[in-house]
């Protein structure tokens, strides 16, 4: 029982949603399911958030290494949660009550977002500029034919992205203008890149069809069986 019911739920939901694509009266289901998912994930947050708090509080109380940082996390969590849930300092509260725009200018939630979350997010993201340099240095070496193709293609695009490429190949006569970097890089992006993308996308679609069928048919169900029976 404990195994069969989930399996039936998977089969039925899967097949119904596949068929819904072709049956107009069922079309709304596809939208409803997305909303269901959002509602379920809010409930699931109790589990996720619970686990986050549990692990960090355990660290704090048992004074394990780095417990101080765990405490910071817990405090940060509750502060932001309170500011948001109660919409503290939200100028629209006066008129709109709890329907006020969560991110209204001037609300403490938005202020904390601007001062803490936004810069942290942007800074973490911008680390990529450094990592892209170290990765290029390490990975773009002509070790074999595949790597050489990768390297050459990347190099041409890099040149095409700036005026450097234009200057470098500006001397070429018109009858070989195809090989001018600006044309070559556009051709790489619009043709060769397109072909590769298509092969990847078609492959992915086939992979998804096959894997979805394995899941729906219950051949692949390691992800939901774990139980004690």
């Amino acid at each position: 029982m404990k195994r069969t019911i989930p399996w039936i739920i998977t089969i039925v939901t899967g097949f119904v949603l596949v068929i819904a694509e072709f049956v107009p009266p069922w079309g709304k289901m596809r939208e409803d399911v997305l909303i269901y998912f959002q509602i379920i994930s809010v409930f699931a947050f109790f589990l996720g958030g619970g686990s986050l708090l549990k692990i960090n509080l355990q660290k704090v109380f048992s004074k394990r290494t780095d417990w101080e940082y765990a405490l910071v996390t817990v405090v940060g969590f509750f502060v932001m949660l309170a500011l948001g849930l109660f919409k503290l300092g939200n100028p629209e509260m006066a008129t709109a009550g709890y329907a006020a725009d969560l991110n209204a200018n001037g609300s403490w939630f938005k202020n904390l977002f601007d001062a803490v979350k936004a810069p942290l997010s942007a800074s973490m993201y911008s680390l990529l500029a450094f990592f892209i340099a170290s990765a290029s240095y390490r990975a773009f070496r002509a070790k074999n034919s595949d790597a050489t193709v990768l390297l050459v293609s990347a190099f041409i695009i890099l040149m095409g992205q700036t005026f450097v490429g234009v200057v470098a190949t500006g001397w070429m006569p018109d009858w070989v203008s195809f090989f001018k970097v600006e044309n070559l890089s556009l051709w790489l992006l619009a043709k060769a890149n397109l072909a590769g993308q298509r092969a990847i996308l078609i492959g992915i679609a086939l992979g998804i069809v096959s894997m979805s069928l394995r899941v729906i048919l219950g051949i692949e169900r390691t992800h939901l069986s774990g139980g004690d029976e």
Binding site: V18, E21, F22, V23, P24, P25, G27, L34, S41, A44, F45, L47, G48, G49, S51, L52, K54, I55, D66, G89, P91, E92, T95, A104, N105, G106, K117, L120, S121, M124, Y125, L127, F131, A135, R138, A139, L150, Q197, I200, L201, G203, I204, L206, G207, I208, V209, S210, M211, S212, L213, R214, L217, I219, E220, T222, H223, L224, S225, G226, G227
Partner: protein, 424 residues
């Protein structure tokens, strides 16, 4: 911005919108006032001085392949709605329920528009529509009435019939090979380096006494890539349990955490080591993309996992993770179906499963005949796709001389259809 100035702005916004509401009401009043008494027989409006020419050829047809809640109304533009004239400001559309002569206005569109979709109707009801043009000064033309139309619900979307046929072909071949895969009969499968390295990578971590890090992507369970990641996690966790190593699975979504716990627990049980399972090694971090990345970076530099798996949906963080993993000397096996991130994994990881290979991985790792059979079904799909690409290109080449315009898939298939004598 201080709270005070914010308040003053919202008051300003309020006043502006109130004002514009009044302007709008004043402007549209003459139009709306006529709604109730316009009927088919009432032709006085046409005699209004300066009334624009009415639209012609008003058609109302049931919207195809829907649940019977919509009608498409179309018309030819009023003579006064052409370049040079343009004193028509727009059209008003009226509707009556069959039998009644009462036409209610249901909407208006701007000039140069010749269609209107009326939605939210009742299925099985018969309606009649009429359309008038109007000018900015409020004169409305005589309404032109359409024939009656009954909304119908269709049970099959015939626009999608090619999708259906192809899906049956490809899905059917996958299912055929799943159920005809015979046990014991060895099927040929090409090697995928990344998957052959899985066992070795786990073994290495065990020897070094360091943990394994598994990231099932940064999407939630509503992404099929995450599900693919979980199916691989099942196989990896089983081996980890057998080797008595340790696996960390930080997740970016709560649901993914729950699913990962189920998966790993099941794997430990299958391996007969449920006592070694630690739920707290699989934990939710934060839904914030880069907050999650910051945390995983921390885990990598502090716990120094010997092997990192990145299998699922990845975005910009792919390179941050892979470069940090590289700096701690971990063996890295990645796989994603995000085309934009594949280059970074290919560049920075030891092994990368490209797109389709990610979805095939759990079948490969399981070694079960049925699962492997599905891969053969996928290959049949590839043959169909390649054939469609080649035949389609050839047909398009032949057809292009006659000016055949093939833009969409359906168009292409109708093209094939017409070559074989159908349609046209």
């Amino acid at each position: 911005m201080s709270r005070l100035s914010r308040l003053s702005i919202s008051r300003k916004t309020f006043l502006t919108s109130l004002l514009s509401l009044l302007v709008f009401a004043a402007y549209s009043a003459p139009l709306l006032a006529q709604d109730s008494d316009i009927s088919v027989t009432d032709s006085t409006s046409a005699e209004l001085e300066g009334a624009p020419a009415a639209p012609t050829n008003v058609l109302a047809v049931d919207h195809k392949y829907d649940i019977g809640e919509a009608v498409d109304v179309s018309w030819d533009l009023s003579f006064d709605d052409t370049a040079g004239m343009r004193n028509v400001a727009g059209y008003i559309i009226y509707r009556s329920v069959a039998g009644s002569a009462e036409f209610d206005s249901i909407g208006a569109v701007f000039s140069l528009t010749s269609s209107f979709a009326d939605i939210g109707l009742t299925r099985g009801e018969t309606y009649q529509y009429s359309v008038s043009s109007y000018t900015l000064s409020g004169q409305v033309s005589e309404p032109i009435v359409s024939a009656e139309v009954t909304t119908e619900r269709e049970w099959f979307d015939w626009d999608e019939v090619w999708v259906f046929i192809l899906l049956v072909l490809i899905g059917g071949s996958v299912m055929y090979f799943i159920y005809h895969a015979r046990k014991g009969k060895q099927m040929f499968l090409r090697k995928i380096a990344g998957l052959q390295a899985v066992e070795e990578a786990i073994g290495r971590a065990t020897e070094m006494g360091r943990p394994i890090l598994f990231i099932p992507g940064i999407h939630d369970m509503d992404d099929v890539q995450t599900i693919a990641g979980m199916t691989i996690l099942a196989k990896v966790a089983k081996q980890v349990a057998e080797y008595e190593s340790r696996i960390f699975v930080p997740t970016r979504a709560s649901l993914a955490m729950t699913a990962a716990r189920e998966t790993v627990r099941e794997a430990y049980m299958t391996a007969g080591r449920v006592d070694a399972y630690r739920a707290d090694d699989i934990y939710y971090v934060t839904d914030e993309q880069f907050g999650y990345v910051a945390a995983v970076n921390g885990i990598m530099t502090r716990d120094k996992p010997a092997t990192c798996f990145y299998l699922g949906a990845f975005f910009a963080e792919s390179l941050i993770l892979a470069e940090t993993g590289n700096s701690i000397g971990a063996i890295q096996i990645a796989g994603t179906a995000q085309p934009a991130q594949l280059p970074f994994f290919v560049a920075a990881c030891d092994y990368t499963l490209i797109g389709e290979e990610l979805f095939a991985a759990s079948a490969y790792l399981s070694g079960e005949a049925k699962q492997l059979g599905s891969l053969k079904g996928q290959d049949v799909g590839k043959v169909i796709a390649m054939a469609a690409v080649l035949i389609g290109a050839v047909l398009a080449t032949l057809g292009s001389e006659e000016g055949m315009n093939i833009e969409t898939f359906r168009g292409a298939f109708h093209g094939i259809w017409s070559v074989f004598g159908g349609g046209q």
